[in-house]
Symmetry: C2
Subunit: 340 residues, 2 copies
DNA sequence: TAAAGTCACTGAAACGGTTAAGTGAATGTG
DNA sequence: CACATTCACTTAACCGTTTCAGTGACTTTA
């Protein structure tokens, strides 16, 4: 029951391991005769040989592995992604990678606070980092000789490939739409706004819309917390407490919008008659929500596809850093109405 | 800018690579002097050495990799898990694995219809298979010498470790509760019911409850489709069309319950006044739903933890196959009322 | 017909580690 | 003092591939 290796195949076929290797790597057509190729292939089939990718990587210094780093979304929580967004993204990344012969090495936050350790010790061919993660520095990634793609992360220098959406425009569109419906006091509800994160851009978009309409921005309208249902639920109460007379909110994530709807309803407010809400992402949750959430749609699986494609391009020699921004669109549903 | 290897460290510290290897693998305390250990460690630090896990695996035949196979949930769809359930599970698996020094090799459905290829060619130390996947045969996994854990998959022979929940009891509890509220015509809504899957067990639980209450089971009350919001939406219409007078439904997944609520509301029915619904899973979506979904709760992250633990136990010599069943509980919310 | 090419392979050195089996010096034993 | 141990390392084989640099047998070429 010993593992069958290339040597066994070679012996079976009566050739050298080199020949077997050539046949297996399609270099055969150039240099190996059809007859020998045939003989090797049947030996492979007979012995049910499967190459050891580990050994292959060692000698060819190519692992066909893409590291995917998904940082914790909620600090303090041990789990990284309860948000369905990640499942969908990962799903698309996995599918695209597999189609191109790559496997995924999934990793959460490294305990050594380092993005690059997986790359260095597993020798992945490329790294996809989803979302920024303030406690980890991106600097060390520069020295790495593997391509790095940052998803949903804003960095100043174009030292990495990046793929994201137009978060700022999305924020602006959401807010503009509320303004067009006559709302003047619009809350902004989001998770933590960090330097490199998407929330900040959405926030900037919110401000853009306010400014362009000549509306004042008040800190009183800002609700920052965590991207979760419970936080949003509590925001409803907080709004009542503050009493700033908001008639609408832009929730920078659908789950927040959904929580807000629920929280407001508990307080006896009707959506959209008494209060309007626009979400962000267009997850299933937006349609489950009642009333369904008007939201900014993004194409999550396209994001995943592009992330992988950027790695592949880089691996094929594409040198200059790419920065791709996918479009967003406003999806009209039932959570927004004209100001009462 | 050459990669620094164990040889470089050895040279720097003035010892053999064996010594370095011993120091790095904690075998040091036994046989290597404190002074040498110290010297090696500082060489490691100075050169910023990181071991190549790939090479390590090759010679030690231990990869510290756990393969996670997440089959497509919806055949025909290219993506494997839009369902938030998977994200949460994966999250927990990743966290637990990482805590024990393992990385995750994530894989969707293999094109060669084989579960074992990742194991064979990447040499993973263990495999976690989530959900059954009818087109793939489990048989080949027997021959594999690595531990296999089946999550949410029912197999007759105890040839693999399994971890799941009491799906049948869950289905029964959900249905019993509806019966206690006076419902007599209860629909069953689910995805495809396959031999090894969880849906079949939930269905059996539904029947158990019906039988024990002396209620007849009618095929007319059964709605099978895909586990998705849109299918559930359509079920509402189908119910009206069939006109079998159901006053309640057990939806074998929260997303189905949520879709049903939405679909019924569109048809002008009120939940729970006109129609009661019980879901399954207790995802966020159950709380987003309005009215919030009464549902059967399962502990998804516990499932993930156990899956990894079973692999680790097996790796430590635990021979006999384990079968763990986690408990479920009924969570009362607002989608069920007494029959009108 | 001798030199120069092809053709169809093969030998052996990597790749970066682990580990079984030494080895020489210092210490312990009778 | 001769011998057996222990201590602290080292030598070298090996893990399963890839790949560079041959190699011998046939063809061309001039």
């Amino acid at each position: 029951m010993k593992r069958v290796g290339i040597k066994d195949v070679a012996k079976e076929a009566g050739v050298s391991t080199t020949t077997v290797s050539y046949v297996l790597n399609q270099k055969a057509s150039e240099t190996i005769s059809a007859e020998t190729t045939e003989r090797v292939m049947s030996a492979v089939a007979k012995l049910n040989y499967v190459p050891n990718l580990n050994a292959r990587s060692l000698s060819s210094r190519k692992t066909n592995l893409i590291g995917v780093v998904i940082p914790q979304t909620e600090p303090g929580k041990e789990f990284m992604f309860s948000n369905p967004f990640y499942g969908e993204l990962l799903s698309s990344v996995e599918y695209t990678a597999r189609k191109h012969g790559y496997h995924l090495l999934l990793s959460g936050p490294q305990s050594d606070q380092s993005y690059s350790s997986i790359a260095r010790n597993r020798g992945v061919d490329g790294i996809i980092i989803v979302g920024s993660y303030p406690t980890h520095s991106l600097d060390e990634l520069h020295q790495l000789s593997v391509p790095v793609v940052l998803v949903d992360t804003y960095v100043k220098d174009p030292v990495f490939h990046t793929i994201g959406i137009d978060d700022r425009l999305g924020g602006q569109m959401a807010t503009q739409y509320l303004i067009r419906q006559g709302h003047r006091h619009i809350a902004f509800v989001s998770g933590a706004v960090s330097e490199q994160g998407v929330m900040q851009k959405r926030f900037l978009g919110y401000m853009d819309a306010l400014n362009e309409a000549g509306l004042p921005m008040s800190e009183q309208h800002l609700y920052f917390g965590t991207v979760g249902f419970d936080f949003a639920l509590s925001v409803a109460g907080e709004m009542a407490r503050r009493g700033n007379g908001e008639t609408a909110a832009f929730a920078a994530a659908d789950i927040l919008g959904a929580g807000l709807v629920k929280g407001l309803r508990r307080l006896g407010k009707r959506v959209p008659e008494d209060f309007s809400i626009v979400g962000f992402d267009d997850l299933d949750i937006a349609r489950v929500c009642d009333p369904s959430l008007t939201t900014i749609r993004q194409d999550i699986s396209a994001k995943g596809r592009h992330a992988v494609q950027l790695i592949l391009d880089a691996l094929e020699g594409q040198k200059e850093k790419q920065e791709r921004i996918l479009p967003v669109s406003l999806v009209l549903r039932d959570s927004v109405g004209p100001v009462g």
